[in-house]
Symmetry: C3
Subunit: 360 residues, 3 copies
């Protein structure tokens, strides 16, 4: 292939990188605005987390730690994947960190993330042969890792007072949150297809959209059945679970299978939000502010496991080993990082802008 | 052309498909948030309508009903066009359907839409020779069809109580609605150019932007003249009428003609909102919640007819026949579907989230 | 290169043109929604300014005044650059113009802008040799010009009553403003790379993102240090200063230099908002509503000057001459245009929607 054509393909990757950036800032950022009195802080934190993690990932690459990307745009996309995982992680402790603690979280998270990425995808330490672990769109490496890391952090540092403080939303914070959710939905196909070769992109795009349609429909039905009325938190979150779950297999399965994966993921996620979340939190007396376990954790694990059934000729051993490594590494690093963050200070009151921002 | 190049062109189509998806969810979705106490439901309904109609359109194609697309991405774009038309239709009855009725509407709408599309664009039943009906960006097939279908549904099922219930907006719902309007404005060029060949895309893009500039300016002037002060509903809606009206001819006319089509469409649409809407609704005692007749119906019909004058060598017979088929088919199917929906249940109170959603 | 390939490259430019349009409407538009009771007017004004300036720029080109673009999409991008500069200018007087005065401002601004663009970039009047002035992403031609022009207009026409009227924001207007800010952040790489050749795009994209990361981090730290708590106005604005400042050199420097330019620009802009703005306004008894001097003016000038140090082999003379021409031309035209606008009428009360819009 000639140079002109290669440049054009790189430019197409950069367009996907911009779509992912829209997901990071507008998507994850506004999804987290659902906390009524912490919206401006959530957006500020999103800005901080993206701005610290992307240069840090480039620095890692330039130092030759844990492998490295083939081109600037590939590196940018991988850095964005890391930022997405970090934002998921931060969602678990949203409103309970001071602003500089988000920065510290970013500094500590990215190396752990890069280590796990290297172990699973680049054959690091020889644990999983490079190319054998299937996770094109990051169900495991991005979503499950970020969610389980976040649960670890939340477990280490949530105080009883924080556990007892209600997290409130209102009509306006809900609408902003739905805006973030829609931004994620719209650009999710570009997230999964970011590094896919041009000829495989059409199937990938259709699969992601089918999975999202499936989870959106399943969320509505499940939310209505479980709660009697539909919860907007379910819609804003669980509708996206198809995107999370299709990640591992997005370029391998048929649209029909993608739709089924989406339907199941949406139902699973809604059960998580409607049934599991309150019991789980009550059991551990800790808070997962955004319910990342139910949007990214369970659907991500399901997506990684679904590859075992849905994809012919998959390396079962590599797939299972990769999932276990991710789970163990994420939870342990999260627990340790939570302890470190707890040493770095405490908010006086959770979930309010006014502690760190000048408000009118 | 070699395979690499074809893949690249398919990827460019998928970028336009993503732009259209932004219009469907963020654009149409937030435009409908103008109803103060029904914003979260409007967004939920948008999610439902998109998620039911896209897989359904693919199913139609896979069953070989009413023709079929050449590739996965073409099929996705055509499915999105159908979803756009469905969202327009739903705008006419927004706030008066229960959530499952939106799903039912989607199930009933898509086959009718696909039939009309097949009759006009693929020579179905031999009524209009394939390729003779000019409607690149869907003024008739998408906008007018959706709007007239919606008017039919509204006619069949609006109750007197619903007619008498005021539809209220406030500063925040207005700002969300303007956000949706801007998303539609921004990505409209990709909507019209979605299936246009690469070499014709630059002219198409410029024409759509000129038409939108024209309608935006005309809306401001007309709204001010007719009402004394400017109405935000006019700005949020009629500013887009140029995009609706340029659809039929977007790849055929000069930018100057496009600007003129936009100016006229904006004025026409504003007259619709400022003058016709209240009289029309009072005459039939029915409500068109979003005024889709005035944003999509009249400007769409105008756009389809403008092709008769603005494009040399057009097949007059095919163009007029296509418009008539669309009008008749849309209104009749809409009336019938409205009756069916009315049998499927009734909301107790229109235009409020709390009937079906858990609200704080 | 063959025709197919050229068409594909034009289509890639159009995707960047759409990204820029998102910045113009959703970005600049919503950033200006921070004024609590003027949000709907700010968006309406944004619609007007874009819709008047883009066709006007095309008209200029078709009349052969001040040079002309090579293709329709290049012309569209240059017209959007002009619209961006106009929106920056309008930000200085936001809330103090009647709606038709924004249109008049657009009509008067575009010719001045096009003159400056022609002098600096096309060798107009032989003042600066074409190709010698470095400003790929418009730090000087777009940002500094618009800001200084706006300061000129504000100087000429702000009344004492307007000076004394407080400009208020609230939690909701802040969140909308942050939304606009994020849209600008996300799509800024496409703004700077809009007319860059495909092979230079990856470096440009990475540089812009690094500069934005730098300014975002610097803004947080500087705002906290200077004010004790973080100001959301700083975050929404100064976080973008890296994008402004990297414009001149975005395709020439290394990512490390880009990060440093961003860090400095963010700190400079925050000092502007936190320290300079109130003193400057008190000294001249005039108001720069959006603080465009501090977001676009100073960081833009800094970016143009940074090229002198950061880029090898730059023509020092051309760079300095270009900056001086821009500053003089912008301020003088702004002062004159402000006088003209003042003759065209006066608002009764600044910063409220209800003077010109129908509000509930």
């Amino acid at each position: 292939m000639n140079g002109e054509l290669l440049s054009i393909i790189e430019v197409q990757k950069y367009f996907r990188a911009i779509h992912i950036m829209a997901m990071l800032l507008l998507g994850f950022g506004f999804l987290m605005v659902f906390v009524k009195r912490y919206g401006r802080s959530a957006i500020t934190a999103t800005f901080m987390l993206v701005s610290i993690s992307i240069p840090l990932y480039f620095l890692k690459d330039s130092l030759g730690i844990f492998g490295g990307a083939n081109s600037d745009i590939d590196r940018l996309i991988l850095a964005e994947f890391g930022a997405a995982s970090l934002l998921i992680c931060a969602g678990a402790v949203l409103g309970r960190l001071k602003m500089y603690q988000y920065l510290l979280l970013g500094l500590l998270f990215v190396p752990c993330y890069a280590l796990n990425e290297w172990l699973l995808l680049s054959g690091g330490l020889g644990l999983v042969s490079a190319g054998n672990f299937l996770d094109t769109g990051g169900s495991i490496v991005i979503h499950a890792f970020g969610a389980l890391f976040g649960i670890g952090v939340a477990f280490s540092m949530t105080t009883m007072k924080e556990y007892e403080t209600p997290i409130e939303s209102d009509a306006t914070s809900d609408r902003f949150s739905l805006l973030g959710s829609m931004v994620l939905w719209v650009f999710w196909p570009s997230f999964c297809a970011a590094l896919v070769a041009p000829k495989d992109i059409p199937l990938t795009i259709v699969n992601v959209i089918f999975a999202l349609c499936g989870s959106t429909l399943a969320t509505y039905i499940t939310s209505l059945k479980l709660r009697g009325k539909v919860s907007i938190a379910d819609i804003a979150n669980a509708a996206l679970a198809g995107g999370v779950a299709i990640g591992s297999t997005c370029d391998k399965v048929s649209p029909t299978i993608a739709l089924m994966i989406g339907l199941f993921a949406g139902a699973l996620s809604t059960v998580g939000f409607a049934v599991i979340q309150s019991r789980f939190q009550a059991a551990i007396k800790k808070i997962d502010t955004c319910g990342v376990l139910h949007l990214h954790g369970l659907p991500g694990l399901f997506g990684g496991l679904a590859a075992l059934i849905a994809v012919d000729g998959i390396s079962m051993g590599a797939q299972i080993k990769g999932i276990l490594i991710t789970a163990v590494l994420a939870i342990i690093s999260g627990l340790v990082v939570g302890k470190i963050l707890a040493l770095a200070g405490r908010r006086k009151v959770p979930y309010i802008d006014s502690e760190e921002l000048i408000v009118d």
